[in-house]
Symmetry: C2
Subunit: 307 residues, 2 copies
Protein backbone atom coordinates (compact mmCIF):
# COMPACT_ATOMS: atom_id res chain seq x y z
CA UNK A 1 0.00 0.00 0.00
CA UNK A 2 2.94 2.37 0.63
CA UNK A 3 4.01 1.68 -2.97
CA UNK A 4 0.52 2.60 -4.18
CA UNK A 5 0.58 5.79 -2.11
CA UNK A 6 4.01 6.81 -3.41
CA UNK A 7 2.99 5.96 -6.99
CA UNK A 8 -0.11 8.12 -6.77
CA UNK A 9 1.79 11.03 -5.23
CA UNK A 10 4.29 10.92 -8.12
CA UNK A 11 1.63 10.62 -10.79
CA UNK A 12 -0.57 13.40 -9.46
CA UNK A 13 2.36 15.60 -8.36
CA UNK A 14 0.34 16.15 -5.22
CA UNK A 15 1.76 15.13 -1.82
CA UNK A 16 -1.63 16.02 -0.39
CA UNK A 17 -4.12 14.27 1.83
CA UNK A 18 -7.51 15.86 2.36
CA UNK A 19 -8.64 15.62 5.98
CA UNK A 20 -12.30 14.65 6.14
CA UNK A 21 -13.05 16.07 9.59
CA UNK A 22 -16.64 17.16 9.18
CA UNK A 23 -17.70 19.31 12.12
CA UNK A 24 -21.43 19.89 11.67
CA UNK A 25 -20.67 23.61 11.59
CA UNK A 26 -18.72 23.07 8.34
CA UNK A 27 -21.63 21.33 6.61
CA UNK A 28 -23.57 23.89 4.53
CA UNK A 29 -27.09 24.66 5.68
CA UNK A 30 -28.76 23.26 2.56
CA UNK A 31 -27.07 19.87 3.12
CA UNK A 32 -28.11 19.78 6.77
CA UNK A 33 -31.66 20.93 5.99
CA UNK A 34 -32.15 18.13 3.47
CA UNK A 35 -30.91 15.49 5.93
CA UNK A 36 -32.86 16.87 8.90
CA UNK A 37 -36.03 17.13 6.79
CA UNK A 38 -35.85 13.41 6.14
CA UNK A 39 -34.45 12.14 9.47
CA UNK A 40 -35.09 14.97 11.91
CA UNK A 41 -32.48 16.60 14.14
CA UNK A 42 -31.26 13.15 15.15
CA UNK A 43 -27.95 11.30 15.16
CA UNK A 44 -29.09 9.63 11.95
CA UNK A 45 -29.83 13.06 10.52
CA UNK A 46 -26.29 14.16 11.44
CA UNK A 47 -24.90 10.99 9.86
CA UNK A 48 -26.78 11.57 6.59
CA UNK A 49 -25.64 15.21 6.43
CA UNK A 50 -22.01 14.25 7.02
CA UNK A 51 -22.00 11.46 4.44
CA UNK A 52 -23.65 13.67 1.80
CA UNK A 53 -21.10 16.42 2.51
CA UNK A 54 -18.14 14.01 2.36
CA UNK A 55 -19.32 12.33 -0.83
CA UNK A 56 -19.69 15.67 -2.61
CA UNK A 57 -16.17 16.65 -1.56
CA UNK A 58 -14.71 13.29 -2.55
CA UNK A 59 -16.41 13.55 -5.95
CA UNK A 60 -14.81 16.97 -6.43
CA UNK A 61 -11.23 16.05 -5.45
CA UNK A 62 -10.62 12.34 -6.05
CA UNK A 63 -8.82 12.89 -9.36
CA UNK A 64 -6.46 15.49 -7.84
CA UNK A 65 -5.17 13.86 -4.64
CA UNK A 66 -3.87 10.43 -3.70
CA UNK A 67 -5.52 10.13 -0.32
CA UNK A 68 -8.07 11.26 2.24
CA UNK A 69 -7.72 11.18 6.02
CA UNK A 70 -10.97 10.94 7.95
CA UNK A 71 -10.49 11.86 11.63
CA UNK A 72 -12.54 9.25 13.50
CA UNK A 73 -13.19 11.50 16.52
CA UNK A 74 -15.37 13.76 14.40
CA UNK A 75 -17.57 10.75 13.64
CA UNK A 76 -17.31 9.04 17.03
CA UNK A 77 -18.87 12.12 18.63
CA UNK A 78 -22.18 11.09 17.02
CA UNK A 79 -21.96 7.57 18.45
CA UNK A 80 -22.99 4.56 16.38
CA UNK A 81 -24.56 6.65 13.61
CA UNK A 82 -21.38 8.70 13.39
CA UNK A 83 -19.29 5.56 13.11
CA UNK A 84 -21.55 4.31 10.30
CA UNK A 85 -20.80 7.63 8.58
CA UNK A 86 -17.09 6.90 9.09
CA UNK A 87 -17.46 3.43 7.60
CA UNK A 88 -19.43 4.73 4.61
CA UNK A 89 -16.94 7.56 4.07
CA UNK A 90 -13.98 5.16 4.02
CA UNK A 91 -15.82 2.80 1.66
CA UNK A 92 -16.86 5.61 -0.70
CA UNK A 93 -13.31 7.00 -0.83
CA UNK A 94 -11.96 3.51 -1.62
CA UNK A 95 -14.57 3.09 -4.37
CA UNK A 96 -13.17 6.25 -5.96
CA UNK A 97 -9.63 4.85 -5.88
CA UNK A 98 -8.36 6.97 -3.00
CA UNK A 99 -5.92 5.74 -0.35
CA UNK A 100 -7.63 6.01 3.04
CA UNK A 101 -5.60 7.07 6.08
CA UNK A 102 -7.70 6.51 9.20
CA UNK A 103 -6.69 9.08 11.80
CA UNK A 104 -7.52 6.97 14.83
CA UNK A 105 -4.45 7.46 17.10
CA UNK A 106 -4.98 4.10 18.83
CA UNK A 107 -2.46 2.18 20.91
CA UNK A 108 -2.76 -0.25 23.83
CA UNK A 109 -1.07 -3.33 25.25
CA UNK A 110 -0.49 -6.48 23.15
CA UNK A 111 -3.78 -8.30 22.69
CA UNK A 112 -5.73 -5.05 22.86
CA UNK A 113 -3.65 -3.42 20.12
CA UNK A 114 -4.23 -6.57 18.11
CA UNK A 115 -8.00 -6.11 18.51
CA UNK A 116 -7.75 -2.52 17.28
CA UNK A 117 -5.62 -3.70 14.36
CA UNK A 118 -8.19 -6.35 13.44
CA UNK A 119 -11.02 -3.82 13.53
CA UNK A 120 -9.29 -1.15 11.51
CA UNK A 121 -6.88 -2.77 9.06
CA UNK A 122 -7.52 -6.49 9.44
CA UNK A 123 -10.37 -8.96 9.49
CA UNK A 124 -12.39 -10.17 12.46
CA UNK A 125 -13.01 -13.89 12.74
CA UNK A 126 -16.50 -15.01 13.73
CA UNK A 127 -16.59 -18.80 13.80
CA UNK A 128 -15.38 -19.85 10.35
CA UNK A 129 -16.07 -16.49 8.70
CA UNK A 130 -13.98 -13.31 8.38
CA UNK A 131 -15.17 -9.72 8.19
CA UNK A 132 -13.56 -6.40 7.36
CA UNK A 133 -15.33 -3.45 8.97
CA UNK A 134 -13.55 -0.20 8.13
CA UNK A 135 -11.79 0.13 4.77
CA UNK A 136 -8.60 1.87 5.80
CA UNK A 137 -5.16 1.49 4.17
CA UNK A 138 -3.16 3.30 6.84
CA UNK A 139 -3.93 4.27 10.42
CA UNK A 140 -2.25 6.59 12.90
CA UNK A 141 -0.89 5.21 16.20
CA UNK A 142 0.17 6.62 19.58
CA UNK A 143 3.58 5.32 20.80
CA UNK A 144 3.41 6.19 24.53
CA UNK A 145 3.10 2.54 25.60
CA UNK A 146 6.19 1.42 23.64
CA UNK A 147 7.04 -1.33 21.14
CA UNK A 148 4.63 -3.95 22.38
CA UNK A 149 1.76 -1.56 21.70
CA UNK A 150 2.95 -1.01 18.10
CA UNK A 151 4.17 -4.44 16.99
CA UNK A 152 0.71 -6.13 17.00
CA UNK A 153 -0.40 -3.52 14.44
CA UNK A 154 2.66 -4.24 12.27
CA UNK A 155 1.88 -7.96 12.32
CA UNK A 156 -1.57 -7.25 10.85
CA UNK A 157 -0.06 -4.68 8.46
CA UNK A 158 2.26 -7.35 7.04
CA UNK A 159 -0.60 -9.78 6.51
CA UNK A 160 -2.81 -7.19 4.88
CA UNK A 161 -0.16 -5.01 3.15
CA UNK A 162 -1.30 -1.96 5.04
CA UNK A 163 0.66 0.72 6.89
CA UNK A 164 0.80 3.02 9.91
CA UNK A 165 1.90 6.52 10.85
CA UNK A 166 3.24 6.79 14.41
CA UNK A 167 2.80 10.08 16.32
CA UNK A 168 6.31 11.46 16.67
CA UNK A 169 6.14 15.25 16.97
CA UNK A 170 2.56 16.47 16.90
CA UNK A 171 1.43 19.85 15.57
CA UNK A 172 -0.33 21.19 18.67
CA UNK A 173 1.12 24.00 20.84
CA UNK A 174 1.67 21.85 23.96
CA UNK A 175 3.12 18.87 22.08
CA UNK A 176 6.48 19.83 23.55
CA UNK A 177 5.32 19.29 27.12
CA UNK A 178 6.49 15.66 26.97
CA UNK A 179 7.73 15.18 23.39
CA UNK A 180 10.47 17.85 23.57
CA UNK A 181 11.89 16.80 26.95
CA UNK A 182 15.58 15.95 26.72
CA UNK A 183 16.63 12.39 27.45
CA UNK A 184 20.40 11.90 27.41
CA UNK A 185 20.64 15.11 25.41
CA UNK A 186 18.03 14.13 22.82
CA UNK A 187 14.36 15.08 22.86
CA UNK A 188 11.78 12.31 23.30
CA UNK A 189 10.46 12.78 19.74
CA UNK A 190 13.90 11.82 18.40
CA UNK A 191 13.85 8.61 20.47
CA UNK A 192 10.44 7.88 19.02
CA UNK A 193 11.74 8.72 15.53
CA UNK A 194 14.56 6.22 15.98
CA UNK A 195 12.04 3.56 16.92
CA UNK A 196 9.91 4.43 13.89
CA UNK A 197 13.00 3.89 11.74
CA UNK A 198 13.77 0.61 13.51
CA UNK A 199 10.19 -0.72 13.30
CA UNK A 200 10.05 0.31 9.65
CA UNK A 201 13.37 -1.24 8.61
CA UNK A 202 11.82 -4.68 8.91
CA UNK A 203 8.89 -3.72 6.75
CA UNK A 204 9.92 -1.92 3.58
CA UNK A 205 8.05 -1.19 0.36
CA UNK A 206 10.07 -0.44 -2.78
CA UNK A 207 11.40 2.95 -1.72
CA UNK A 208 9.68 3.74 1.56
CA UNK A 209 8.63 1.84 4.65
CA UNK A 210 5.14 0.77 5.66
CA UNK A 211 5.87 2.50 8.98
CA UNK A 212 5.58 6.26 8.71
CA UNK A 213 5.53 9.09 11.24
CA UNK A 214 3.36 12.06 12.11
CA UNK A 215 5.33 15.32 12.34
CA UNK A 216 3.48 18.64 12.57
CA UNK A 217 3.92 21.34 9.92
CA UNK A 218 4.29 23.76 12.81
CA UNK A 219 7.73 22.35 13.74
CA UNK A 220 9.94 22.47 10.60
CA UNK A 221 13.23 22.61 12.55
CA UNK A 222 12.41 19.37 14.26
CA UNK A 223 11.30 17.82 10.99
CA UNK A 224 14.77 18.52 9.58
CA UNK A 225 16.33 16.32 12.24
CA UNK A 226 13.63 13.66 12.10
CA UNK A 227 13.90 13.47 8.30
CA UNK A 228 17.52 12.32 8.74
CA UNK A 229 16.78 9.93 11.62
CA UNK A 230 14.08 8.10 9.65
CA UNK A 231 14.95 8.56 5.96
CA UNK A 232 12.65 5.76 4.78
CA UNK A 233 9.60 6.77 6.78
CA UNK A 234 6.86 8.68 5.01
CA UNK A 235 5.95 11.71 7.09
CA UNK A 236 2.28 12.57 7.50
CA UNK A 237 2.20 16.33 8.08
CA UNK A 238 -0.78 17.86 9.90
CA UNK A 239 -1.02 21.53 10.78
CA UNK A 240 -0.74 23.01 7.27
CA UNK A 241 -2.89 26.06 6.61
CA UNK A 242 -5.36 26.48 9.45
CA UNK A 243 -2.73 25.65 12.11
CA UNK A 244 -0.13 27.93 10.55
CA UNK A 245 2.29 26.03 8.26
CA UNK A 246 2.83 27.06 4.60
CA UNK A 247 4.40 25.32 1.60
CA UNK A 248 7.71 27.17 1.67
CA UNK A 249 8.23 26.14 5.31
CA UNK A 250 7.88 22.44 4.54
CA UNK A 251 11.07 21.82 2.51
CA UNK A 252 12.75 19.87 5.29
CA UNK A 253 9.90 17.38 5.57
CA UNK A 254 10.80 16.06 2.09
CA UNK A 255 13.77 14.00 0.95
CA UNK A 256 16.03 14.99 -1.96
CA UNK A 257 13.92 12.75 -4.23
CA UNK A 258 10.99 15.14 -3.75
CA UNK A 259 9.17 12.41 -1.84
CA UNK A 260 8.84 11.33 1.79
CA UNK A 261 6.06 13.58 3.03
CA UNK A 262 2.32 13.92 2.55
CA UNK A 263 0.70 17.09 3.82
CA UNK A 264 -2.78 17.13 5.32
CA UNK A 265 -5.27 19.94 5.06
CA UNK A 266 -8.71 19.53 6.59
CA UNK A 267 -10.68 22.69 7.26
CA UNK A 268 -8.65 24.61 4.65
CA UNK A 269 -10.09 22.32 1.96
CA UNK A 270 -13.42 20.98 3.14
CA UNK A 271 -14.62 24.31 4.54
CA UNK A 272 -12.85 26.43 1.91
CA UNK A 273 -16.18 27.98 0.92
CA UNK A 274 -16.20 29.79 4.28
CA UNK A 275 -12.92 31.59 3.52
CA UNK A 276 -12.94 34.99 1.87
CA UNK A 277 -10.60 33.67 -0.84
CA UNK A 278 -13.23 31.19 -2.02
CA UNK A 279 -16.39 33.08 -1.05
CA UNK A 280 -17.28 33.53 -4.71
CA UNK A 281 -18.29 29.86 -4.86
CA UNK A 282 -20.99 30.27 -2.22
CA UNK A 283 -22.17 27.57 0.17
CA UNK A 284 -24.10 25.87 -2.63
CA UNK A 285 -20.84 25.13 -4.42
CA UNK A 286 -18.78 24.06 -1.39
CA UNK A 287 -17.35 21.09 -3.27
CA UNK A 288 -16.06 23.24 -6.14
CA UNK A 289 -14.49 25.56 -3.54
CA UNK A 290 -12.76 22.50 -2.04
CA UNK A 291 -11.43 21.53 -5.47
CA UNK A 292 -10.08 25.03 -6.05
CA UNK A 293 -8.43 25.01 -2.60
CA UNK A 294 -6.71 21.71 -3.47
CA UNK A 295 -5.33 23.24 -6.67
CA UNK A 296 -4.01 26.25 -4.75
CA UNK A 297 -2.45 23.98 -2.12
CA UNK A 298 -0.85 21.85 -4.83
CA UNK A 299 0.89 24.92 -6.26
CA UNK A 300 1.91 26.15 -2.81
CA UNK A 301 3.50 22.80 -1.97
CA UNK A 302 5.71 22.88 -5.07
CA UNK A 303 7.87 25.28 -3.07
CA UNK A 304 8.55 22.44 -0.67
CA UNK A 305 9.35 19.48 -2.87
CA UNK A 306 10.34 20.60 -6.42
CA UNK A 307 14.10 21.00 -6.50
CA UNK B 1 -18.85 10.81 39.93
CA UNK B 2 -15.52 10.35 41.75
CA UNK B 3 -17.48 10.77 45.01
CA UNK B 4 -19.90 8.06 43.91
CA UNK B 5 -17.01 5.75 42.99
CA UNK B 6 -15.25 6.33 46.32
CA UNK B 7 -18.52 5.86 48.22
CA UNK B 8 -19.20 2.54 46.51
CA UNK B 9 -15.65 1.30 47.10
CA UNK B 10 -16.01 2.07 50.82
CA UNK B 11 -19.46 0.52 51.11
CA UNK B 12 -18.58 -2.68 49.27
CA UNK B 13 -15.05 -2.90 50.69
CA UNK B 14 -14.03 -3.75 47.17
CA UNK B 15 -11.53 -1.55 45.31
CA UNK B 16 -12.25 -3.69 42.27
CA UNK B 17 -13.21 -3.00 38.69
CA UNK B 18 -14.15 -5.90 36.46
CA UNK B 19 -12.69 -5.56 32.98
CA UNK B 20 -15.28 -6.49 30.38
CA UNK B 21 -12.87 -7.41 27.57
CA UNK B 22 -14.78 -10.18 25.84
CA UNK B 23 -12.51 -11.96 23.39
CA UNK B 24 -14.76 -14.37 21.49
CA UNK B 25 -12.53 -17.18 22.74
CA UNK B 26 -13.65 -16.38 26.31
CA UNK B 27 -17.35 -16.67 25.46
CA UNK B 28 -18.55 -20.19 26.29
CA UNK B 29 -19.60 -22.36 23.36
CA UNK B 30 -23.24 -22.57 24.41
CA UNK B 31 -23.55 -18.78 24.41
CA UNK B 32 -21.93 -18.51 20.98
CA UNK B 33 -24.00 -21.36 19.55
CA UNK B 34 -27.24 -19.72 20.62
CA UNK B 35 -26.27 -16.40 19.04
CA UNK B 36 -24.90 -17.96 15.84
CA UNK B 37 -28.00 -20.13 15.48
CA UNK B 38 -30.14 -17.01 15.40
CA UNK B 39 -27.86 -14.61 13.52
CA UNK B 40 -25.31 -16.85 11.81
CA UNK B 41 -21.53 -16.53 12.07
CA UNK B 42 -21.86 -12.81 11.41
CA UNK B 43 -20.75 -9.62 13.11
CA UNK B 44 -24.28 -9.36 14.50
CA UNK B 45 -23.92 -12.92 15.79
CA UNK B 46 -20.68 -11.93 17.52
CA UNK B 47 -22.39 -8.87 18.97
CA UNK B 48 -25.29 -10.91 20.37
CA UNK B 49 -22.91 -13.46 21.90
CA UNK B 50 -20.81 -10.74 23.55
CA UNK B 51 -23.78 -8.87 24.97
CA UNK B 52 -25.36 -12.07 26.35
CA UNK B 53 -22.02 -13.01 27.94
CA UNK B 54 -21.50 -9.55 29.45
CA UNK B 55 -25.05 -9.31 30.80
CA UNK B 56 -24.74 -12.67 32.55
CA UNK B 57 -21.46 -11.57 34.14
CA UNK B 58 -22.86 -8.19 35.15
CA UNK B 59 -25.89 -9.90 36.72
CA UNK B 60 -23.55 -12.11 38.74
CA UNK B 61 -21.21 -9.39 40.08
CA UNK B 62 -23.05 -6.04 40.18
CA UNK B 63 -23.77 -6.27 43.90
CA UNK B 64 -20.12 -7.02 44.74
CA UNK B 65 -18.11 -4.40 42.84
CA UNK B 66 -18.41 -0.66 42.29
CA UNK B 67 -17.44 -0.57 38.63
CA UNK B 68 -16.83 -2.29 35.32
CA UNK B 69 -14.28 -1.33 32.68
CA UNK B 70 -15.16 -2.35 29.13
CA UNK B 71 -12.11 -2.19 26.82
CA UNK B 72 -13.46 -0.62 23.63
CA UNK B 73 -10.85 -2.28 21.38
CA UNK B 74 -12.40 -5.68 22.04
CA UNK B 75 -15.69 -4.33 20.67
CA UNK B 76 -14.25 -2.12 17.94
CA UNK B 77 -12.68 -5.20 16.35
CA UNK B 78 -16.19 -6.23 15.29
CA UNK B 79 -16.90 -2.87 13.66
CA UNK B 80 -20.30 -1.21 14.01
CA UNK B 81 -21.96 -4.29 15.52
CA UNK B 82 -19.17 -4.52 18.08
CA UNK B 83 -19.63 -0.87 18.99
CA UNK B 84 -23.35 -1.46 19.45
CA UNK B 85 -22.35 -4.24 21.86
CA UNK B 86 -20.14 -1.69 23.66
CA UNK B 87 -23.01 0.78 23.89
CA UNK B 88 -25.44 -1.87 25.16
CA UNK B 89 -22.88 -3.16 27.68
CA UNK B 90 -22.29 0.33 29.11
CA UNK B 91 -26.03 0.98 29.29
CA UNK B 92 -26.77 -2.35 30.96
CA UNK B 93 -24.01 -1.82 33.54
CA UNK B 94 -25.40 1.66 34.31
CA UNK B 95 -28.92 0.21 34.68
CA UNK B 96 -27.50 -2.09 37.37
CA UNK B 97 -26.01 0.84 39.26
CA UNK B 98 -22.39 0.22 38.27
CA UNK B 99 -19.86 2.96 37.58
CA UNK B 100 -18.63 2.54 33.99
CA UNK B 101 -14.98 3.21 33.17
CA UNK B 102 -14.57 3.25 29.39
CA UNK B 103 -11.07 2.07 28.55
CA UNK B 104 -10.70 4.04 25.34
CA UNK B 105 -7.19 5.56 25.64
CA UNK B 106 -8.07 8.47 23.36
CA UNK B 107 -6.20 11.74 23.00
CA UNK B 108 -5.73 14.22 20.14
CA UNK B 109 -5.34 17.94 19.54
CA UNK B 110 -7.84 20.50 20.89
CA UNK B 111 -11.03 20.34 18.83
CA UNK B 112 -10.52 16.65 18.10
CA UNK B 113 -10.17 15.76 21.78
CA UNK B 114 -13.32 17.77 22.31
CA UNK B 115 -15.13 15.61 19.76
CA UNK B 116 -13.99 12.44 21.52
CA UNK B 117 -15.11 13.94 24.84
CA UNK B 118 -18.54 14.75 23.42
CA UNK B 119 -18.95 11.24 22.05
CA UNK B 120 -17.85 9.42 25.18
CA UNK B 121 -18.73 11.52 28.23
CA UNK B 122 -20.70 14.44 26.82
CA UNK B 123 -23.61 15.15 24.54
CA UNK B 124 -23.58 15.75 20.79
CA UNK B 125 -25.61 18.67 19.48
CA UNK B 126 -27.65 18.10 16.34
CA UNK B 127 -29.52 21.28 15.50
CA UNK B 128 -31.47 22.12 18.66
CA UNK B 129 -31.27 18.59 20.12
CA UNK B 130 -28.64 16.87 22.29
CA UNK B 131 -27.73 13.19 22.36
CA UNK B 132 -25.62 11.00 24.63
CA UNK B 133 -24.23 7.93 22.87
CA UNK B 134 -22.09 5.89 25.25
CA UNK B 135 -22.97 5.82 28.96
CA UNK B 136 -19.52 6.12 30.51
CA UNK B 137 -18.65 7.80 33.82
CA UNK B 138 -14.88 7.76 33.41
CA UNK B 139 -12.63 7.25 30.41
CA UNK B 140 -8.91 6.57 30.03
CA UNK B 141 -6.70 9.05 28.13
CA UNK B 142 -3.24 9.01 26.51
CA UNK B 143 -1.06 12.01 27.47
CA UNK B 144 1.61 11.89 24.70
CA UNK B 145 0.30 15.05 23.01
CA UNK B 146 0.39 17.16 26.20
CA UNK B 147 -2.02 19.42 28.11
CA UNK B 148 -3.99 20.72 25.16
CA UNK B 149 -4.98 17.14 24.34
CA UNK B 150 -6.25 16.57 27.91
CA UNK B 151 -7.88 19.88 28.86
CA UNK B 152 -10.79 19.61 26.35
CA UNK B 153 -11.79 16.37 28.09
CA UNK B 154 -11.65 18.06 31.50
CA UNK B 155 -13.92 20.85 30.26
CA UNK B 156 -16.59 18.28 29.36
CA UNK B 157 -15.91 16.37 32.62
CA UNK B 158 -16.69 19.51 34.61
CA UNK B 159 -19.96 20.09 32.76
CA UNK B 160 -21.04 16.47 33.10
CA UNK B 161 -19.45 15.60 36.49
CA UNK B 162 -17.44 12.80 34.93
CA UNK B 163 -13.80 11.83 35.27
CA UNK B 164 -10.68 10.53 33.52
CA UNK B 165 -7.70 8.27 34.17
CA UNK B 166 -4.54 9.38 32.37
CA UNK B 167 -2.00 6.74 31.28
CA UNK B 168 1.03 7.33 33.48
CA UNK B 169 2.97 4.09 33.89
CA UNK B 170 1.35 1.29 31.92
CA UNK B 171 1.51 -2.40 32.86
CA UNK B 172 3.03 -3.83 29.67
CA UNK B 173 6.64 -5.08 29.47
CA UNK B 174 7.86 -2.39 27.04
CA UNK B 175 6.10 0.50 28.81
CA UNK B 176 9.54 1.60 29.97
CA UNK B 177 10.81 2.19 26.45
CA UNK B 178 9.65 5.80 26.60
CA UNK B 179 7.92 6.15 30.00
CA UNK B 180 11.01 5.26 32.07
CA UNK B 181 13.47 7.50 30.21
CA UNK B 182 15.12 9.98 32.54
CA UNK B 183 14.49 13.66 31.97
CA UNK B 184 16.50 15.93 34.28
CA UNK B 185 16.97 12.93 36.54
CA UNK B 186 13.28 11.99 36.69
CA UNK B 187 11.54 9.39 34.53
CA UNK B 188 8.91 10.56 32.06
CA UNK B 189 6.11 8.83 34.02
CA UNK B 190 6.88 11.09 36.99
CA UNK B 191 6.59 14.18 34.79
CA UNK B 192 3.23 12.85 33.60
CA UNK B 193 2.26 12.11 37.22
CA UNK B 194 3.03 15.71 38.16
CA UNK B 195 0.78 16.92 35.35
CA UNK B 196 -1.99 14.56 36.49
CA UNK B 197 -1.72 16.12 39.95
CA UNK B 198 -1.75 19.62 38.46
CA UNK B 199 -4.72 18.96 36.14
CA UNK B 200 -6.58 17.31 39.01
CA UNK B 201 -5.97 20.05 41.56
CA UNK B 202 -8.42 22.28 39.70
CA UNK B 203 -11.07 19.63 39.70
CA UNK B 204 -11.56 18.00 43.08
CA UNK B 205 -14.35 15.85 44.48
CA UNK B 206 -14.74 15.59 48.27
CA UNK B 207 -11.59 13.56 48.93
CA UNK B 208 -10.19 12.66 45.54
CA UNK B 209 -9.82 14.35 42.19
CA UNK B 210 -11.83 13.76 39.03
CA UNK B 211 -8.46 13.28 37.30
CA UNK B 212 -6.95 9.88 38.05
CA UNK B 213 -4.01 7.94 36.65
CA UNK B 214 -3.33 4.50 35.19
CA UNK B 215 -0.39 2.74 36.89
CA UNK B 216 0.26 -0.94 36.18
CA UNK B 217 0.20 -3.54 38.99
CA UNK B 218 3.42 -4.85 37.49
CA UNK B 219 5.40 -1.80 38.67
CA UNK B 220 4.81 -1.40 42.46
CA UNK B 221 8.10 0.46 43.07
CA UNK B 222 7.09 3.14 40.64
CA UNK B 223 3.59 3.28 42.13
CA UNK B 224 5.15 4.13 45.50
CA UNK B 225 6.71 7.27 44.04
CA UNK B 226 3.67 8.18 41.95
CA UNK B 227 1.35 7.75 44.95
CA UNK B 228 3.27 10.59 46.66
CA UNK B 229 3.46 12.80 43.57
CA UNK B 230 -0.30 12.68 43.01
CA UNK B 231 -1.87 11.99 46.44
CA UNK B 232 -5.36 13.03 45.36
CA UNK B 233 -5.47 11.04 42.13
CA UNK B 234 -7.32 7.74 42.11
CA UNK B 235 -5.07 5.12 40.55
CA UNK B 236 -6.62 2.66 38.11
CA UNK B 237 -4.46 -0.47 38.33
CA UNK B 238 -4.39 -2.87 35.38
CA UNK B 239 -2.16 -5.95 35.28
CA UNK B 240 -3.48 -7.73 38.38
CA UNK B 241 -3.70 -11.50 38.12
CA UNK B 242 -3.20 -12.53 34.50
CA UNK B 243 -0.38 -10.01 33.99
CA UNK B 244 1.35 -10.97 37.23
CA UNK B 245 0.45 -8.63 40.12
CA UNK B 246 -1.03 -9.94 43.42
CA UNK B 247 -2.82 -8.27 46.35
CA UNK B 248 0.15 -8.19 48.73
CA UNK B 249 2.24 -6.37 46.10
CA UNK B 250 -0.25 -3.55 45.74
CA UNK B 251 0.10 -1.84 49.14
CA UNK B 252 1.90 1.17 47.74
CA UNK B 253 -0.87 1.94 45.26
CA UNK B 254 -3.13 2.83 48.20
CA UNK B 255 -3.07 5.82 50.52
CA UNK B 256 -3.03 5.54 54.32
CA UNK B 257 -6.83 5.99 54.28
CA UNK B 258 -7.15 2.60 52.54
CA UNK B 259 -8.39 4.38 49.44
CA UNK B 260 -6.82 5.84 46.30
CA UNK B 261 -6.65 2.80 44.05
CA UNK B 262 -9.04 0.60 42.12
CA UNK B 263 -7.66 -2.65 40.75
CA UNK B 264 -8.81 -4.10 37.44
CA UNK B 265 -9.10 -7.75 36.61
CA UNK B 266 -10.42 -8.81 33.22
CA UNK B 267 -9.64 -12.34 32.08
CA UNK B 268 -9.13 -13.47 35.69
CA UNK B 269 -12.81 -12.74 36.39
CA UNK B 270 -14.73 -13.02 33.15
CA UNK B 271 -12.94 -16.17 31.98
CA UNK B 272 -12.49 -17.60 35.49
CA UNK B 273 -14.37 -20.74 34.43
CA UNK B 274 -11.38 -21.64 32.23
CA UNK B 275 -9.00 -21.72 35.22
CA UNK B 276 -8.36 -24.93 37.12
CA UNK B 277 -9.31 -23.18 40.36
CA UNK B 278 -12.86 -22.58 39.11
CA UNK B 279 -13.23 -25.56 36.78
CA UNK B 280 -15.85 -27.06 39.06
CA UNK B 281 -18.35 -24.48 37.85
CA UNK B 282 -18.13 -25.63 34.24
CA UNK B 283 -18.65 -23.48 31.17
CA UNK B 284 -22.43 -23.52 31.75
CA UNK B 285 -21.94 -21.62 35.01
CA UNK B 286 -19.31 -19.14 33.80
CA UNK B 287 -21.09 -16.25 35.55
CA UNK B 288 -21.05 -18.00 38.94
CA UNK B 289 -17.35 -18.70 38.41
CA UNK B 290 -16.85 -14.97 37.77
CA UNK B 291 -18.67 -14.16 41.01
CA UNK B 292 -16.50 -16.58 42.96
CA UNK B 293 -13.36 -15.09 41.39
CA UNK B 294 -14.47 -11.60 42.49
CA UNK B 295 -14.90 -12.83 46.07
CA UNK B 296 -11.42 -14.39 46.03
CA UNK B 297 -9.94 -11.19 44.59
CA UNK B 298 -11.71 -9.10 47.24
CA UNK B 299 -10.06 -11.14 49.98
CA UNK B 300 -6.67 -11.04 48.27
CA UNK B 301 -6.83 -7.24 47.98
CA UNK B 302 -7.40 -6.82 51.72
CA UNK B 303 -3.66 -7.43 52.03
CA UNK B 304 -3.12 -4.23 50.10
CA UNK B 305 -5.48 -1.72 51.68
CA UNK B 306 -6.55 -2.87 55.18
CA UNK B 307 -4.11 -1.41 57.71
Amino acid sequence: MINELVGKIKKLEAPIVVGLDPMLSYVPEHVKEKAFKEYGETLKGAKEAIVAYNKAIIDAIYDLVPAVKPQIAMYEQFGIEGLIAYQETCAYAKSKGLVVIGDIKRGDIGSTSEAYAIGHIGKAKVGSKEYQSFEQDFITLNPYMGSDSILPFLKVCKEEKKGVFVLTKTSNPSSGEFQDRLIDGKPLYEWVGEKVHEWGSDFMGDEYSYVGAVVGATYPEMAKVLRKIMPKAYILVPGYGAQGGAGKDLKDFFNADGLGAIVNSSRGIIAAYKQEQYAKFGAENFAEAAREAVLVMKEDLRQAWVK
